[in-house]
């Protein structure tokens, strides 16, 4: 594997399971054991019902593009080779909205386009969830 130069997530104790599952190419999110609401980004407490309890529930990894942008200015030198690159907001079928990159030409992206998760192995410890278009 060539050296990964782009910024990596700083993993807090609360987020550790998310990234441990991601390394196994599983997209899991906290789901409240009291009201079944997902918590994303991570939280020690349910914003809906105030319960502490949760499980790391596997989600489908499927969703739709809510909006997307294309970076033409380089803010991170490690992204210079990828300019212009996209960043999309993706509404998962289960509800949570993720931010990610869509592995497709920028000019092919459309609102409501269906996508599914794929994992990019950045380092031996970190695999980053990304998305690719799928047929509706």
């Amino acid at each position: 594997m060539t050296e990964y130069r782009k910024p990596l997530p700083v993993v807090t104790p609360l987020e550790r399971p998310f990234w441990d599952y991601a390394r196994r190419h599983e997209l899991r999110m906290q789901r409240c054991t009291a009201c079944s609401r997902y918590r994303y980004p991570v939280s020690p407490v349910c914003a809906n019902c105030d319960s502490d309890g949760y499980e790391w529930a596997q989600v489908s990894g499927r969703g739709r593009i809510l909006s997307w942008v294309v970076f033409h200015r380089c803010y991170f030198p490690s992204f210079a080779d990828e300019i212009p690159y996209n960043v999309a907001m993706i509404a998962l079928d289960e509800g949570p909205v993720m931010v990610s990159n869509v592995l497709a030409p920028n000019d092919s992206l459309r609102g409501s386009m269906p996508v599914e998760v794929v994992f990019e192995d950045a380092t031996p410890e970190i695999s980053i969830p990304k998305f690719r278009p799928i047929d509706a």
Binding site: S67, F71, R73, Y75, F76, P84, V87, M89, V99, G111
Partner: protein, 386 residues
């Protein structure tokens, strides 16, 4: 939960802006935020005739770590109260409100708000950080996807507006074009080359779909505003400008990602508060100052404050309506897009100058009520009258 408007109405016109001042605006490689803020402060003191020893409240703001304690030390004053609020340009409306509250409660008599910004000289890019800043208006949590900068959050929202309502980037160009026309009439403004839709559309993207002309400038400068009691203000050099309404509504849920609701559920509450306190409506507003880090902010402010219907800001802002001479002049100084990027502080100065009738060729006729709006996760508004 809602604000107690009966009690808020007791605060109506109980604080006044007595003095405003600005330093030169531009690029000053030998300067720093403190020096620029102090230059502006001197101009504001001259503007109203007060002395710095009259200041018993000191509010200090600027990108980066500008300290109110250090500022007070430099100025040689020990005010009763000092404060800042580290949420960038979202702080301006809230800090004006805190100043008005300090004066209206009697805790302070005269509050100076000092702003210093040396972002151009410091090479600040407003993007590229890998530290997470909770509470800011944009996500800093997803930098590993290359997501960064407040402009990207606005670009996501601009795309949503275009997709949802059929509005276009060419329509959005009406905002920077109007403000450039205003800047041409403002001696303090930095950008004066005329702008056209064609030039806007042909310009480079920063974060698509926003073009470079949809982005604020990045420059150096200082601004100062002095707030005091109406009684004190009436004895000073210039006609007082009264704080007649104010509103605020925060949005914390979903704040790690760009706001996908376009603040439809929250911003109208800030409007309701300010109009409820003042007894005014948007039909009473003679000129509107809108926080314009990005052009699209004008659309969200107009729609969420009921100047036009949701989804219709694209059409509403065409044909000169938001230009001087139009029905609703917006950012008559040129704003962040063309005058100077002082994070909302020169918007307060312009409101005061318009209400005093000091604006020369860009003066709004019979200007009696001016409103300031800042959208975002800390939505805030001020209504000023003369």
């Amino acid at each position: 939960m809602a604000a107690d408007l009966t009690r808020m109405r007791q605060m109506k016109d109980r604080a006044a802006i007595a003095g405003v001042g600005a330093s030169a605006q531009g690029t000053f490689p030998d300067s720093d935020p403190y020096t620029l803020a102090i230059q502006a402060f001197r101009n504001a003191l001259d503007d109203c005739g007060l002395n710095r020893t009259d200041i018993d409240g000191l509010i200090v703001q600027g990108p980066g770590n500008v300290s109110f304690v250090r500022m007070g030390e430099m100025l040689g004053i020990d005010p009763i109260v000092g404060a800042n609020f580290d949420v960038g340009g979202l702080a301006t409306g809230p800090l004006m409100q805190y100043a008005a509250m300090l004066v209206a409660t009697g805790m302070c008599e005269t509050v100076a708000l000092l702003y210093g910004n040396a972002s151009r000289t410091e090479g600040r890019k407003f993007g590229g950080d890998t530290t997470v800043s909770p509470g800011r208006e944009y996500s800093s949590a997803f930098y590993y996807y290359g997501l960064t900068s407040p402009g990207a959050a606005s670009a996501f929202q601009a795309r949503m507006h275009f997709d949802s309502y059929g509005s276009t980037s060419a329509q959005l160009a009406a905002v920077p074009i109007a403000q450039r026309k205003h800047a041409i009439l403002n001696p303090q403004a930095i950008k004066k080359e005329p702008l056209t839709v064609e030039k806007h559309q042909a310009s480079k993207f920063i974060c698509e779909p926003l073009h470079v002309y949809d982005y604020c400038l990045i420059n150096d400068g200082g601004v100062a505003v002095i707030v005091t009691t109406p009684e004190r203000a009436r004895d000073l050099k210039k006609k007082p400008v009264y704080v007649t309404g104010m509103g605020r509504q925060d949005t914390y849920r979903g704040s790690s990602i760009p706001n996908a609701t376009l603040w439809r559920d929250t911003m109208p509450k800030a409007a309701e508060m300010a109009y409820g306190m003042s007894g005014l409506t948007c039909a009473d507003i003679d000129a509107l100052m809108v926080y314009d880090s990005f052009s699209i902010n004008i659309w969200f402010s107009l729609e969420n404050f009921d100047f036009c219907k949701v989804g219709e800001a694209g059409d509403f802002t065409q044909n000169g309506r938001i230009e001087l001479g139009g029905a609703l002049p917006v950012n008559t100084h040129g704003g962040h897009l063309s005058e100077s990027y002082m994070q909302g502080w020169l918007h307060q100065v312009e409101a005061v100058r318009q209400l005093r009738g000091e604006c020369g060729p860009r003066q709004v006729k019979d200007c009696e009520i001016v409103q300031y709006i800042c959208r975002g996760n800390l939505a805030a508004t001020m209504i000023y009258r003369n």
